[in-house]
């Protein structure tokens, strides 16, 4: 059976895939359905949802269209989540490979640095980083990646430690390949699968961290973010709780979708590995 069909056999994976597909569609279609600035005033302030069909989810304190903000927020959440996770995985894989392959002093130094990063709460680190460099999309991505690369680094190192003892690595040495070339062209690709298995957890955590940062007002001020929307709604929590609840539900569904799809992928590959 091909992996795709196996993936779609579990109901959880199907649910995850549907949620993620809907989310991607939302993010891609945002400029089509809601061209122009989502932060522009679209109607009367604090219109409740399901009252006016041109503004189906109502408006916020300043009269901005909640549905438009939701669509544009999906873009930010997905972009930041994916970019931060990709950065963290890449940095982690490289650091882990170098540490595991070089061994000795290099390994010791890199691992102590990894320890140090794991000792500082990653959210505090992100907070400090954003406050130093100033909030923009790229900085938020870097700040999140700063706290997320350690897990992949440890996994990659452990994997590299066992791979570097295999015969094909010895073979590469014998034919005179440069150690760096061996590390990155022979060893790293083989060490990747368990590192990539972490990606769903890291993407989910990155999306949640981004939301928390923008909730505290440390997101990119020129972008709509779900965390920022929740913070906006907080000022009118008693009278218009929907303003905080709607973006939160979107956030929960997104993260849930990432987890479910991730579990599906892991299960699919685990079955394939046990078969081979």
């Amino acid at each position: 059976m091909n992996p795709l069909r196996r993936f779609f056999r579990t109901p959880e994976a199907v649910a995850g895939a549907i949620i993620l597909a809907a989310l991607c569609a939302m993010a891609l279609a945002a400029p089509l359905f809601f061209p122009g600035d989502p932060q522009a005033i679209a109607g009367p302030a604090l219109l409740p949802p399901f009252q006016d069909w041109s503004l189906p989810l109502g408006t916020d304190r300043l009269g901005r269209d909640v549905l438009a903000e939701l669509f544009h927020g999906a873009r930010t959440s997905l972009a930041v989540g994916l970019a931060a996770a990709a950065t963290a995985l890449a940095v982690g894989a490289i650091v882990g490979t170098v540490a595991g392959f070089a061994g000795g002093g290099v390994d010791e130094v890199l691992m102590r640095i990894t320890d140090a990063f794991q000792t500082v709460p990653s959210f505090l680190l992100a907070l400090a980083f954003v406050s130093v460099v100033g909030p923009s999309l790229g900085v938020v991505v870097a700040a999140i990646a700063l706290g997320a690369w350690t897990g992949p680094a440890r996994v990659a190192r452990a994997e590299v430690l066992s791979i570097r003892e295999r015969d094909f690595v010895a073979g590469a040495r014998v034919i005179g390949m440069h150690p760096l070339e061996i590390a990155f062209r022979e060893v790293l690709p083989n060490a990747l699968p368990p590192v990539l298995a972490l990606s769903s957890v890291i993407v989910a955590a990155a999306i949640l961290t981004e939301a928390a940062l923008s909730f505290l007002g440390l997101g990119d001020p020129n972008r709509v973010t779900w965390g920022g929307m929740i913070a906006e709604g907080r000022a009118v929590l008693r009278t218009a709780p929907f303003l905080s609840i709607i973006p939160g539900v979107a956030l929960v569904l997104t993260v849930l979708g990432v987890y479910l799809a991730g579990e599906g992928v892991v299960e699919t590959t685990a079955v394939r590995r046990s078969l081979s």
Partner: protein, 328 residues
């Protein structure tokens, strides 16, 4: 006991190196921030160029970064974290005043999530594949996707605004004059919502780990042996399967402590709990870099201490840990 001590000594030496990296790294990061404590101070009080020069000199900010790092480390040896510009008080004092609230919040959240999470995990893992197992697994995955700060807001809407069961925020009623047990009850009622918001996600984590761990243990031979011996199912589940599945959870307890500290920043902000996390946010807002540095250091030390405690617990729980080092 020597086994524990030997392990502890090794971990302590390693921790000191790690903390040194944390100090230097954070110092250099915050050093690269535009503007210094004097700028922040002058912005809030006003003053002329001569005043700026004087303050820079008095606070040692006219020296090179390396000298200041050395000075900072030297002061740190005397447990001196410097002076907070925003609070006009020693940073150590400010942090020590806020720390108990965060420890109370984190400790309660850890206790509740660990206790309930592992209990529910045992309940789910006692019969792998059963309805309750599947229900709890999927339910916990859903809970795991809920951001704590948003859950906090929802809890406020439901339990503080609509039902009025619990206070909306703070750590205790202001100027209530309560003492002893009354005061403890007051603080406890203030803690219910923030502890739930902070601990819920970890409850799901422990539940899932316990369940997954038990599923592994069920397959091992000694379970079969226990069954063949005629032990009751209850005894097998509790004394054999659950007990062996518990160890990874203890490891997790140490690993997630840093994460939980980070999470408490947002939760404390949602519930206006005057703790370390809220202090961090205040430090960021006021651009009080030395204070932020002090907070990051304090939390790193906290994480190291928690992990040492976990290591000790581990050697007590599992006689195999550290045995080879003690005999060597």
């Amino acid at each position: 006991m020597t086994r524990t001590l030997i392990l502890l000594r090794r971990r302590l030496i390693g921790s000191i190196f790690v903390l040194l990296i944390v100090v230097i790294g954070t110092f250099l990061l915050l050093e690269s921030a535009p503007g210094d404590a004097v700028d922040a101070y002058i912005a809030s009080t006003g003053g002329d160029a001569g005043m700026i020069e004087l303050l820079r000199h008095r606070w040692g900010l006219d020296q090179s970064a390396l000298t200041r790092l050395a000075n900072y480390l030297w002061a740190l040896l005397h447990l001196d974290l410097g002076q907070s510009v925003t609070f006009s008080r020693p940073i150590r004092e400010v942090i020590l005043q806020r720390l108990p609230n965060t420890l109370l919040l984190m400790g309660s959240a850890t206790a509740v999530s660990f206790g309930l999470g592992s209990a529910l995990g045992i309940y789910a893992g006692a019969r792998p594949g059963s309805f309750r197992d599947r229900f709890l697994s999927i339910g916990s995955l859903a809970v795991y996707a809920v951001p704590g700060f948003w859950l906090g807001l929802v809890l406020i809407i439901v339990f503080a605004v609509d039902l009025r069961w619990f206070p909306i925020g703070g750590i205790e009623s202001l100027a209530s004059g309560k003492t002893g047990l009354d005061r403890a009850m007051d603080i406890a009622s203030h803690l219910v919502l923030p502890v739930s918001a902070l601990g819920f996600i970890y409850l799901a984590l422990y539940l899932r780990m316990m369940r997954a761990g038990m599923a592994e243990v069920w397959r091992q031979d000694f379970v079969l042996a226990a069954r063949a011996k005629g032990l009751s199912r209850r005894r097998i589940v509790l004394a054999h399967v659950a007990r062996n599945a518990l160890l990874p959870l203890v490891t997790m307890l140490g690993l997630q402590s840093a994460q939980m500290l980070g999470g408490s920043v947002v939760i404390e902000s949602v519930f206006s709990v005057p703790g370390l996390g809220r202090l961090a946010q205040e430090a960021v807002a006021a651009r009080d870099t030395p204070l932020l540095l002090g907070i990051i250091l304090t939390s790193a030390v906290l994480v190291v201490i928690i992990n040492l405690l976990v290591d000790i617990a581990y050697t007590v729980l599992d006689p195999r840990v550290g045995a080879s080092e003690a005999s060597a």
